[in-house]
Amino acid sequence: MTSEINDMIPDATAKELILAFADDELCVGQNHSWWIAVGPFLEEDLAFTSIAQDELGHARALYSLLSDDIDLVAYGRPHSQYRSAHIAELLCHDWPSALVRHVLHDLAEEIRWTAMLDSTWLELRTVATRALAEEQFHVHHAVSLVKRLLSTSEGHMRLASVLNELAPLGREYFAGSDVGLLASGVLDASLAEQERTWMKRVEDLLDEFELDIDWGVAIPSQGREGTRSKDFSALHDEMVAVLRIDPLASW
């Protein structure tokens, strides 16, 4: 290992990328946890909410790369300082949306972690290695269940429209700046490349069920720029409910 690698200090762009990723994980973890005790059946309930816990764990690991006071970063910012993609903020209180967001999110997440596996930001590399191992289970779970449901006519009917609605929003996972991050070795695939990989992965999954996603044109990211979706406020209230009761509570 060269000293150049050891001396790598993440710049503002790298930190912004990690903050956005952490916010995506925080929002999705919080959203998944809404399903505790109301999942479609016991085994799915356990699996889905265990995944929720993992996503919050990923958020914690990413925030810890940015600050020693992760509670403050996770919960204490004004809404405009969050960087989450809008798809991550969606409450998804109906099972088809929750499941579709789960599969879109985890397919994206796998690609995002993979691009950080050989990062010159060594702490990030460690976090990515660990998270990616966990991510295999999430993808296995999501893909198996979606395939299972799409292979039935009712499942196909109920998921198709939601897939068409949510998949284009998933492109925002890859929004933001990656200027200089390939050169410095923080990432080894640009956000645009990651996005193409993800779209191909989604298409391959749906191909066998004769579903074509109309991706439309990429809309400019609002989430990464600081504009929150309409669901965020309710989600954030839920996130900070415990802290409001007990300001000394910790993760």
Binding site: F41, L46, F137
Partner: protein, 86 residues
């Protein structure tokens, strides 16, 4: 839904032991659920998931007459005799 039986094995010489059962729509999801239901806290390092219909279930006659004295010898009698001989 099918019912599956889950077995886990810890590291070392421990044998596989029954962890519990679960319902799943197919084999692939059964494995996913088995991990999240019984293995997410590192309860084991190897896992078997068995479709319950694949189990051969012994009937009563296989387990009858299993209470006979000579099958339950714990060696105490021999130990007492040896003690006496000394």
């Amino acid at each position: 839904m099918n019912t599956y039986e889950v077995f886990l094995k810890k590291a070392g010489k421990e044998p596989f032991s029954h962890a519990g059962s679960l319902d799943a729509p197919d084999d692939e999801l059964a494995v996913a659920y088995a991990r999240e239901t019984y293995g997410r806290r590192s309860e084991g390092e190897q896992m078997w998931v068995v479709d319950r219909t694949a189990l051969l279930v012994g009937d009563e006659i296989n387990l009858a007459m299993a209470d006979r004295d000579h099958k339950h010898n714990d060696g105490r009698l021999v130990a007492e005799l040896r003690q006496f001989d000394r």
